[in-house]
């Protein structure tokens, strides 16, 4: 008994530093933050409870509503990224010469800091930049487009950058899953005379199902929470057309020092995300048990 108690005490001693840090910087922000979103908190004066005022203000605010709409439009990135990444994973899941270098190339955007991504794509999207030049040469467009300065285009340019950053990440996820699949099924199917296409749709895709669900869920959450790309590419402009919901939270909370307003916006996003996550998990479970 004493031995057991000793073990327990020791275990908590080992766990202590991690638990303290998690409590301070992961749990506290959520609890204290949700409290603050119902107040008029600021660092320089006393705090008052204001009830739902911050939330009401949000839904009367055009910028936030545009942000929510844009966050939903951002979801278009999800199927593109997932289909692209899975196809790419299938294409690099082999031992062809130099395949390792291709995999590395696709992963390079993933390890690059967002600030650098923002600067480089700022160059690319410039009206006299590389993208317009290439598209003009290929006769896809007839006049140079203002990718980041045209309010009808800027959001899609940002979404493309998000796709570009995500492709390699999800490719590696799918690749890891593909490599853990047993080879016997494929071999049996080849013996039965199934062609590549049939093998892909009838064997690979069904077996990848759990990975597809997990990746899609991660991708949906990431799309709803996108804001860093906005920060480094357009800062919400031109004419507030590229605000996403979370960029609004960041912009209000940090740049305009309206912390409660920002927190309220971020909790609206969070609640949507938690709802989606639980929905997906419920949908996932029965398949897992099969």
């Amino acid at each position: 008994m004493t031995q057991h108690r000793y073990q327990t005490r020791l275990a908590y001693l080992f766990l202590m530093p991690a638990l303290v840090l998690l409590a301070a910087f992961s749990f506290w922000p959520v609890f204290y933050g949700s409290y603050l979103s119902f107040t008029d908190f600021s660092l320089i004066r006393a705090t008052h409870w204001v009830g739902l005022a911050n939330y009401q203000a949000l839904f009367n605010n055009d910028m936030f509503l545009t942000g929510l709409k844009n966050s939903l439009i951002f979801l278009l990135v999800v199927p593109l990224t997932q289909i692209g990444a899975m196809s790419l994973a299938v294409m690099v899941n082999n031992q062809l010469p130099a395949i390792r270098w291709f995999r590395a190339a696709y992963y390079v955007p993933v390890v690059t800091t967002v600030s650098v991504v923002g600067i480089m794509w700022g160059f690319m999207f410039h009206e006299q930049g590389a993208l317009n030049f290439v598209l003009l040469q290929l006769h896809v467009i007839t006049v140079p487009l203002g990718w980041l300065s045209d309010d009808a285009l800027a959001l899609f340019a940002i979404m493309f950058v998000s796709f570009w950053r995500g492709l390699g990440w999800y490719m590696v996820m799918y690749l890891a899953a593909l490599q853990s699949l047993p080879a016997e099924m494929q071999e049996a199917a080849i013996l039965d005379g199934a062609n590549r296409w049939q093998r892909f749709w009838r064997i690979t895709v069904p077996m990848l199902y759990p990975t597809i669900m997990v990746c899609s869920m991660m991708s949906v959450l990431a799309a709803l929470k996108a804001y860093q790309e906005v920060d480094v590419l357009t800062q919400g402009g031109p004419m507030n057309s590229t605000f996403t919901a979370l960029y609004y939270a960041y912009d209000q909370g940090l740049k305009h020092l309206k912390l409660p307003r920002g927190l309220a916006a971020s909790f609206v996003v969070s609640i949507c995300c938690i709802g989606i996550a639980f929905g997906c998990l419920k949908y996932l479970k029965p398949r897992h048990r099969e």
Binding site: A24, W28, V30, M91, T113, M124, G262, L263, V269, S270
Partner: protein, 275 residues
Amino acid sequence: MNLRPAHVLRLFLHYLVLAVIAIVCVFPFWWTFVVAISTKGNMFEFPPTFWPQAVSLENFSEVFRVIPMWNFLKNSILITVATVIGKLVICSLAAYPLSRMAFRGKKLVFGIILATMVLPSEVNFLVNFVSMTKLGLVDTYTGVVLPNIVTAVSILLLKQAFDEVPQDLLDAARVDGALEWVIFYRIVLPLMTPWLATVGILTAVEAWNEYIWPSIIIAKPEDFPLSAGVLYLRGTYGSSTRVIAAGTMLTVAPILVAFLFTQRFFMRGMDGAVK
């Protein structure tokens, strides 16, 4: 080797598609690099130059003149090293009892740690900034590093690694009367080196790349790490595009080199995540 024309054609198309996607992924880096080492003319003109012209390192020396590049580099290294060491020590300490010790409340603690993965964490920094103000850690690197030390993912990865250590080894040591602490760092930890390296490298990349939190918590731009400093460079009046490109290259170069040498660790981390 199968050399039927149909097969060769298919192989060619396969590589063609792979190459086009690879170019899309890598081209922005190449163009920025070309701009950074060239000194002639205007960057934004038609047709643009995609090959270096009038090569010199002038733009790079200009970067060091207009912004405190060495400071940025030093700060990035400091933040990265501190985050990696802090995470490896504290997360492996936490993962060990979760994997290898029997104690009361184990399931609950594990559940609490996992719960942080579903918490809405994206804008934690809004409140963390308030906490740091109250703790007096604004404008310190301690303030930059502390919130990034513990993540549920790292604890989970390390716990899986501890799970793979054979139980016989621990039993033998316990029978011999070794202290738990000694078992942990003399017997188990040395077996974990590949996993510690994996978590360390993934953490290093994250810490090096983080730009929002450091730029919030650090007051003076000269104390920024590279990732935040490079945006400061872009915002500075009078720096030319070529100088910005050079600064950008200096910011990504260490990460790209590190990545090319340690690719397999990235794949391993992912394997753990998928399981």
